[in-house]
Structure formats: C-alpha cells, structure tokens
Symmetry: C2
Subunit: 308 residues, 2 copies
Amino acid sequence: MESELIRYLRRRLPPHPLLKLGPGDDAAVISMAGVAECVLTVDMLMDRVDFRVGEVDPKRIGRKSLAVNLSDLAAMAAEPLAGVVALALPRSGGMDLAVNLYEGLIPLAERYALAVAGGDTNSWDGPLVISITLLGRVGPKGPLLRSGARPGDWILVTGEFGGSILGHHFDFEPRLAEARLLNERYTLHAGIDVSDGLSIDLARLCQESGCGALVRTADMPISEAAGKWAAQVSDGSTPLDHALGDGEDFELILAVPPEEAARILADQPLQTPITHIGECIDEAGLWATDDRLGKIRLAARGYEHELN
Amino acid sequence: MESELIRYLRRRLPPHPLLKLGPGDDAAVISMAGVAECVLTVDMLMDRVDFRVGEVDPKRIGRKSLAVNLSDLAAMAAEPLAGVVALALPRSGGMDLAVNLYEGLIPLAERYALAVAGGDTNSWDGPLVISITLLGRVGPKGPLLRSGARPGDWILVTGEFGGSILGHHFDFEPRLAEARLLNERYTLHAGIDVSDGLSIDLARLCQESGCGALVRTADMPISEAAGKWAAQVSDGSTPLDHALGDGEDFELILAVPPEEAARILADQPLQTPITHIGECIDEAGLWATDDRLGKIRLAARGYEHELN
C-alpha cells in the first residue's frame, strides 16, 4: 500500500539540509535560500521502451530513471537540489518493485546530494512507468543553453559514443561534475546531453542556435561497444553509424569559442577525454566530412517518439 | 513528433514573468527571486484509473490532471509558480491527444498564473499516462501541514462531499484561493485536500498529527450527487457513506483552534460554505457520533492504490 511505501521512504531516506518536509504530506517543502533561478526538468521512462521489467534488476531501472534526469541538469550545467518520483506500478509485485527502484536510485541521489523529496505512487493494470522531476540550481554564469552556439564555435564532446544498449545506458554516470567544472573554468556557448543520438541532439543544439554543424567523422570517438553492437546487429551499419545514431550515451556536446576550445583540449581537465569533432557553421543542417568524401549531408538520426 | 509538440507549445503558451526559459531545452529556467521556501508536488494520472480515454473529452482529462495537482498546493496553502508535464501517449492519435490535453490544462494554468514550463513527451504501446509536477511558494506563515492538528481543534470542511464521479471529479475548482485566504486571515493548525475520500484523508491528517477525530455525521455536508450516486449504485450505501468514502471531492479539511474556527464559521468568508463536522480528539482513530448512536468507530474509507 502507498502508506507502507511512505513509511519505508521515511525510514530509508537520509536527512537533507534543503528538505524542510519530505514524503508524506501533500507536497514537499524545500529551502531555496540563495537560489535566484532554478531549473526544472522531467523525464518519464516506460517499460518496454526504456527498459524491460523482468529482464533487468529493478535497481538498475531505478538508477537509470534518475540518471537520465541528472543528465538533463548536467546539460544545463546545473546542480541538483531536489526531486520527486511518480510511479505507475503493476499491481502484482508492485511494493517490491517500488522498493527496489528506490534502492537503485537513492545511492545515486546521495552521490549528487539530491534530496529525494517524495512522490506519487500508483498501481494499475498497465506496465511500469517512472516519471522523475528534478529541481536544480545554476551557478553564477547562469544556465548553459542549447541556443548559444555561434558559427565558428568548435564542437567538443565528452567520452565515447555508440552501442550504449550493451550496458552503458544503465550504468553511465551523468556528467554533472564535468559540466560544472567546464562551465565554471571556461567560456562555453551552448550544451546538450546526448540522450537520443549524437547526430539528432547536435541537430537540436544547432537548430536552437540558428546554425549548422560540420562533423569530421574521422575524429569521432567511437566506443568499443559501438563495434560490438555493429557486429551483432550486422545490418551494414558501421561502428561510426552507431556512434552517430544509437543514443543513450549521456555524454555532453558543447559549442565552445575556438580559443577556449583549444585551451580545454590542451588542459584535458576531466577524467574522461574531451574530443574536438567539428565546428558550428553558418549553413543550416548537419554535414559530415572526412579525408575522402569532402562535405556531405549527415542524417540527424536517433530515437524520436513518434506521434501520429 | 515531439519537436512538433514543442513548436505548438512555444506558439500556444503565454509568456510568464517567472519563466526565463520555457519548453525546448534540457530543462526550464524559473526565476525564484524572493522565494525562500518552495513546495514541490507530483501527481500521476492514468487511463482506466483516473479517467477513460475515448469516453471523455481529452480537454477535461488535461484540466483534471492539472487541477488535482493544484489541489495539493491548495492543501499546503501554497501559490502556484511553475509546472512540467510528462506524457506517455498511445502511438495512434498521440499528437491530437497531446494538444487537446494541453488545451484543457492551459486555461486552468492561466487562471492561477501557473507557468507551464515544459515537459517530456513520449509515445508507447500502453495507455495514456500524465504526470504533472508543480512548484509553488508559500506565504509568510509557511506551509499548512497535515501534522499540526491538536486535540480540541475543530474540524472544518469546505463545500460538499460524495458522488464526485458524476462529474465533479472533472470540473472541480481547486481550493487555492480559499486556502490562501483562510491561511492568511485565520490561524489554521493543519490541512489536507480530499482526493481519496473524506474519511481516509481525515485519518491521514490525524495520523500525521498524532490525534484522532470525532465526526458528527448529522452535520456532514452531503452533496446532491451523493444521493444520486447512492440511488444509482444501490448497494445499500447511504448518501452519507458516499460523502465519507467516495473521494475526488477536492475540498479542504482543516483543523482549527476552537475560537478561530468559531470566527471562521461566523464570518463564512468564502463563496462556498464552511462546515464544522467534528473535533480532533486525544484518542487515536476515527470516530462518528450522532443523536442516536453515541460514539462508534468510523472506517477510514476511500481510494488507495494497493501494492502487493
């Protein structure tokens, strides 16, 4: 029952200095002292779309559901404050499932000092749905937006891309610390996290900024998993195709003025490598280039929820 | 497609002074200047649990989904600031459905000056799920909690109860203005909104406050709909039973010190009547009394999501 889950949460959740009132009332109460602007983001994950209940440890599902939301805060160079969790649970085994989802997400919340403030727990005859909403704060430079890229900016990415479905999409670490470090130490023009696919998310950043992008495919950091997945799928797609379109890498794409970008590349201030994969250009759309091909149109590929 | 819905929202949503950045980036940006404490609440509604897609205008579904969340803010005597909407849409007809949901909720958001800040739009093979998260601010007295009731407090309720399923559960007005007026003008000890059932929600308030309640059933404000619904169901339940257990009335239950309560009852400062239905008592649990029965145990009835 819902009240049983609230009792569990009250026992289980660590106290948090920002949380004036946690789960169990009609709303949570959060201290916002010194917060002039906040960011608010929600991501909903569903059984058979984002994971498969029964095929994976529910703790990993819970962790992923929070991690994708934290990745959205990273994309804004924001710091987590508090979050609420809404669940639609299948009737049978729902309580166990709920506890395991929370057991998966609470350690990640603690790691990033996020106050789990409560939520809404429901049961129904449908599959599992998890919707997490996070509240964050931005640093003195304000939020990092998708819309600030300018032609000439270098396109930098963290980490490697492709084949996330082989495990990374559950186990990735949201780039919160990386985004904040880069945003504090350097001048960044725009940023986005790669949830749906490097090419489609880069296209979104460009569209919001009113520019295009030229990607040097030879410089793309392609993960080992992209190669493995290409071999498994075996539909003719190359590891590069997978790196450009698989999605759920949850790495950062950044548009950075050239001198700053050069400084970042020389410094390599993160544990994970930062790679220069191309430039923002005047011409709209996505373009690829390599030593052989010259410049060709690049398809913006990745996961999109189709509505008919 | 999701991007089409974002274009629609950008055209459709009115500008809002608190909204520094609306739909389309990784998160929305909201001004929190002068907000020392905020409240955060989420409610998830599901097809076949909270409404039936295909049997009711989706605009009413959208309106209800926001209204139940606003009712949670009312229960805290909080003022709406901003909200985000997460949708799991059936694949077929999803875009139309999404637009109609928004067309239903946007006028209600405007009425209460709530900034619709964005959301997350998904499609899947499952039924419609709507999860709305609201951010609110509290007045100088702080939030109204469930936990402040004291033995001796009078139990006051707004409006009438029962038979909400005949239409009120879609068309109710969240008691935002009423809660704020009462909280500003009088000393209230505790409050909750009736979502699951008057008796179960009163029991929750009492449990959080460490007291019990004695309800004078003869004084219960029973709606006309409770009578109609009792006649339709015809299972022996009386209109009073329906008033105590139907739920989705979205009225307020308040625990108020006697002298303040008497003042409220004399003033009747709202458009809707305020009724004195009983008192908080030392003894735990819910009790009923009327002229004939003396004091008897009252079942805490209402909707609960059962988790097995």
